[in-house]
Symmetry: C2
Subunit: 131 residues, 2 copies
């Protein structure tokens, strides 16, 4: 699998994949005799993991630590269990926040003026459209 194919499989650009490699998130892949990078399915997996962790708002450096733990059980910067436990707490916190946001948005959707009609609704802010 060459870089373009991997890019298509993960919905990333080849540039982004090369960038992740330089950033230390992907190991240097095997090369063809012509110097083309070649990947196997584990790379797809790894990129999916990166994408998941990114959704959490983690910086690439933190994701690198997470991947190091996944690869070796060792965190480059502190006891792996501590690092993982803290990140896990963040995941939990974020899931709760998103559920709260979900509730609020559902309420907004229900409270929408029936026909979606542009009646002014007085006294609420930002009505004179900033943009």
């Amino acid at each position: 699998m060459r870089i373009g194919e991997l890019a298509a499989a993960t919905d990333l650009s080849p540039d982004t994949i090369r960038y992740y490699e330089k950033a230390g998130l992907l190991p240097a892949p095997a090369r063809t005799s012509a110097g083309y990078r070649t990947y196997d399915s584990r790379a797809v997996d790894r990129l999916h993991f990166i994408q998941g962790a990114q959704r959490l708002g983690l910086r690439l450096e933190d994701i690198g630590n997470l991947l190091a733990i996944r690869d070796t059980g060792i965190c480059p910067c502190e006891p792996a269990a501590d690092f993982l436990t803290r990140r896990l707490a963040e995941v939990d916190a974020q899931i709760r926040r998103l559920e709260a946001l979900r509730t609020e948005m559902t309420a907004m959707l229900e409270g929408l003026p029936a026909g979606d009609c542009p009646q002014p609704v007085p006294g609420t802010w930002l009505q004179q459209g900033g943009r």
Copy 2:
């Protein structure tokens, strides 16, 4: 409530709040005679909403649309119900992704070498600590 106090109440910086105002996420607040911005508790609320939406990975522009719907029921760029429905689907998708990540991280935590001992483990990458 002046800007510094609002900043403290939301864990943002005064600069960030002024930046949000310029970006159209916050209405121009009342001013004291000296020109100082003054806010009431609705501003705290609004900033909390912004922070929640940001955790979702929304850009400030999208958050502005969400706020316009919250304020007026009207979306500046497309039918409000459509916009909200799409964002809601994103929230749901993200909650599911985070739950998958959570499962994976829990498994990683359980699979950690018992004593968390810093044995070198040869041949794996990124072990020589980036920070």
